[in-house]
């Protein structure tokens, strides 16, 4: 832990953070206006997003430059490891809130509405069988089965975990060809996953009458899978950046935390999917 740090790298003053704050200001106000149906909303939101992209480009260009320039010693590397681990932990807690909501709605609130006084007087005839869209839902919907697209997607993501590990081993053995192939395969699988996820949503909206507005089931289904899909997108974009860097010859067998951090993230997204598959689709 506290090994003698000869010289810990402290970056120069940077104007990127303030760009980031400006971007957040534009995006937040834009989103609020847009949600309240004010015309300026989408413009502000996109402007903010554009500034955010600029900031990410600039900031990460700095980081990559510093890394390739050899500024990051052993100690900085350890910091990155801690930082990424805790970041992933924070993501775990974010998903935990939504899994908690799923648990609560499924195990507590839906049965509560069907039982006791509420079932007897308020919502007569409402049965608590899950999946449920609640006593106020008019109409029919079908839940998403586990063994069609979702099962294929599970296979895709698990395979992508394997190809990524293959790439990592190749990097350690300095086999650049396999590294690039493994990464490309991972990215391909990731995008395939996303494509099928979109197909699944189309199927849900078009044929199952399963929507975000389909009560507790629809809310938890789309919010959980949606946030997961968003994270897969982020992970896939990060993998693309890593692939581009690999093609440029970045990373060494003993110094490649950029690669590893993204790989950790990808595995995390993978594990969340497994939980989703079991708790949202299957059971």
């Amino acid at each position: 832990m506290s090994q003698p740090a000869s010289h810990y790298f402290v970056p120069q003053p940077s104007h990127w953070p303030i760009f980031g704050s400006g971007a957040l200001l534009l995006m937040a106000t834009g989103a609020v206006l847009w949600m309240n149906k004010l015309a300026a909303g989408p413009y502000l939101l996109s402007a903010g997003f554009f500034v955010l992209l600029t900031m990410l480009f600039g900031w990460f260009a700095n980081v990559i430059g510093e890394s390739e320039g050899g500024s990051y010693g052993k100690n900085v590397d350890v910091s990155f490891r801690w930082g990424m681990s805790w970041f992933i932990f924070s993501e775990v807690m974010f998903f935990a809130a939504f899994f908690g909501a799923l648990f609560y709605i499924r195990v507590l609130s839906v049965p509560d509405l069907a039982e006791g006084l509420s079932g007897e007087f308020l919502y007569q005839g409402f049965s608590a069988a899950w999946p449920s869209a609640g006593p106020g839902f008019k109409g029919e919907f079908s839940p998403m089965g586990a063994w069609g697209l979702p099962a294929i997607n599970t296979a895709l993501l698990l395979t992508s975990g394997v190809t990524l590990t293959w790439a990592h081993h190749a990097l350690i053995k300095n086999n650049r060809l396999h590294l690039n192939l493994g990464l490309a395969a991972t990215i391909l699988l990731g995008f395939l996953f996303l494509f099928l996820q979109v197909e699944e949503y189309v199927h849900a909206y078009g044929e199952l009458n399963l929507k975000l507005t389909t009560g507790g089931y629809g809310s938890t289904f789309f919010m959980l899978t949606g946030f997961h899909g968003f994270h897969v997108t982020l992970g896939a974009v990060m993998l693309c950046v890593i692939l581009a860097r690999c093609l440029k010859g970045h990373f060494k067998p003993d110094h490649h935390f950029g690669f590893e951090g993204v790989a950790w993230y990808w595995h995390f997204v993978d594990v969340v999917w497994l939980l989703l598959f079991v708790l949202v689709y299957w059971l």
């Binding site: 700095n62 910091s79 801690w82 939504f98 909501a101 809310s219």
Partner: protein, 535 residues
């Protein structure tokens, strides 16, 4: 503790990296220096303290007499919400993050925070978030009138001010998570050689654990307000029984964040007190290891007590009993801490400069707030007292007399190190006594109001509550005005204070006192050798 090492750290390494900071406003906007960022946090938090305080005074002005005089009930509710959000997220939390930025690298002998650039962003998100919160007052429908707890269904029905608040909270959460990651990494990875975890100053320990609480609980709050947002605009039914959801679900998620949040505020306050009391008792802290375990125990238990805020939501009796006992168990490690602070003073050679006075004020009044917390933990009692002024009195004893007093203790303690100048001790004592007296005048009587049944969050009240409310309001204005004295003291110290040397207080220990005062712009670029503490 360690004494000989490269002070200020410029010694012997040629440096193309440090030309000193850019000048003017760009210095503050682009800085990656933990001292600059710490100072910005502290100034920002003080400004927000005044803003939130002004809002509290609007509330207290309205409550000076029964009937409606000053503001509309709707605006009154908005003030309640914004006062609390600004005080909690804008004043208290940034104040302690400011301390952590300034002091953790100095205390552990690190050149800066682990992620110095991200540190800048953590800070500069705060003004944006606060702007969104304040902006919400000026949009159609005004700021949220729900109270800071944002309970649905009311929060689902509010106007667009609610959306601004939701995004404001998202940004505050982002800032806190980045700050937490930065602090935890700095402490775990950048301690000077020889400084093992169990030799670390107590302030660093409290922040290590607070950072964990931040990282674990802020994302949960983000989840809660995200569900609120989609319930409001996208037709989800998390908190709507018609869809199988439940408004009470929001309360569960909110308080799963909310209770750890009170320790996010309290633990760093404990940390400051654990530095100040030994310094002015001229004794090492009593029971160092038990202090550490107590902090850890408090933090862990804090995740398992959330429903003590929900005794009357219809949770089952077994649930009520469990949450009652679990809550009371927190009193054990907290009691350990109070005992240790008292034992530290036992037979010490005490002196009572302003930091010590605030620390003692903290000790008495925080303990009182802890006791009223125990009273509220009793389910049967809370059923009567919840949503009354008793609750307001309780948490202002822990938030104001706990966190704010501790922040003042820390500010007076370290101000000479930051600026190189001593503050005016007489004025500091005035500040303390005025704050102490007006604080109790404001909040002590609220216990009686609550016991007599006066509800909180209501702009009007029954006639029999008048006298106590008048006392409370007068106290509140006195309290507010006395805080301006602090601003004057700081400015005066920087203008005409006596110069101090490195060891400002004769009883103070730690690496921060080995660097000159004011602490040079860059410190510990070469890590010092830490030769073990006395604990």
């Amino acid at each position: 503790m360690a004494h000989e090492h490269a002070i200020g750290g410029h010694a012997g390494h040629d440096d193309h990296e440090h030309h000193g900071p850019p000048s003017g406003i760009m210095r503050w906007i682009t800085t990656t220096n933990h001292k600059d960022i710490g100072s910005m946090y502290l100034w920002f938090s003080f400004i927000m303290f005044l803003v939130g305080g002004a809002m509290a005074l609007v509330i207290r002005a309205e409550l000076f007499q029964p009937g409606l005089q000053v503001v509309s009930p709707d605006f009154f509710n908005q003030m309640i919400t914004l006062h609390a959000l600004i005080m909690v997220f804008g004043a208290i939390m940034p104040a302690f993050v400011g301390f952590s930025n300034w002091m953790i690298p100095l205390q552990i002998g690190a050149p800066d925070m682990a992620f110095a650039r991200m540190n800048n962003w953590s800070f500069w998100i705060l003004p944006v978030a606060s702007f969104l919160l304040i902006l919400s007052m000026f949009v159609p429908g005004g700021a949220p009138g729900t109270g800071w707890t944002l309970y649905p269904p009311l929060s689902v029905q509010q106007g667009m001010g609610m959306d601004l608040a939701i995004f404001g909270i998202h940004l505050l959460g982002m800032s806190s998570i980045m700050g937490g990651i930065n602090i935890i990494t700095t402490i775990l990875n950048m301690r000077a050689p020889g400084m093992t975890l169990m030799k670390m100053p107590m302030f660093c320990w409290t922040w290590l654990i607070t950072a964990f609480l931040l990282i674990a609980s802020m994302p949960v709050l983000a989840g809660a307000v995200t569900m609120l947002l989609t319930d409001r605009h996208f037709g989800t039914t998390f908190f709507n029984a018609a869809g199988g959801g439940d408004p009470v679900l929001f309360q569960h998620i909110f308080w799963f964040f909310g209770h750890p949040e009170v320790y996010i505020i309290a633990l760093p306050a404990f940390g400051v007190i654990s530095q100040v009391i030994p310094a002015f008792s001229r004794k090492p802290i009593f029971g160092y290891a038990s202090m550490v375990y107590a902090i850890a125990a408090i933090a862990i238990i804090s995740f398992f007590v959330w429903a003590h805020h929900m005794y009357v939501t219809g949770i089952p009796l077994t649930g009520q009993l469990y949450f009652m006992y679990a809550t009371m168990i927190i009193a054990v490690p907290t009691g350990v801490k109070v005992f240790n602070w008292v034992a530290t003073m036992w037979k010490g050679s005490l002196s009572f400069e302003t930091p010590m006075l605030f620390a003692l004020g903290f000790l008495f009044l925080f303990t009182l707030g802890g006791f009223s917390g125990l009273v509220l933990a009793i389910t049967a009692v809370d059923i009567l007292l919840q949503e009354t002024y008793y609750v307001i009195a309780h948490f202002h004893y822990v938030m104001v007399a706990g966190a704010v007093f501790s922040a003042y203790a820390g500010a007076y303690y370290w101000l000479p190190k930051w600026t190189g100048y001593m503050y005016d001790e007489t004025l500091g004592k005035w500040h303390f006594w005025l704050t102490l007296i007006f604080f109790n005048m404001t909040f002590f009587v609220q216990h009686f109001l609550g016991l007599a049944g006066m509800p909180r969050r209501v702009p009007d009240y029954a006639l029999q509550f008048t006298e106590f409310n008048m006392i409370s309001s007068i106290g509140a204005f006195g309290l507010g005005i006395s805080q301006l004295l602090f601003l004057y003291i700081v400015l005066k110290a920087r203008k005409s204070g006596k110069k101090v040397d490195a060891q400002v207080w004769d009883g103070a220990e730690g690496l921060e006192w080995t660097v000159p005062s004011p602490a040079p712009y860059h410190t510990f670029e070469t890590p010092p050798v830490f030769e073990g503490g006395k604990h």
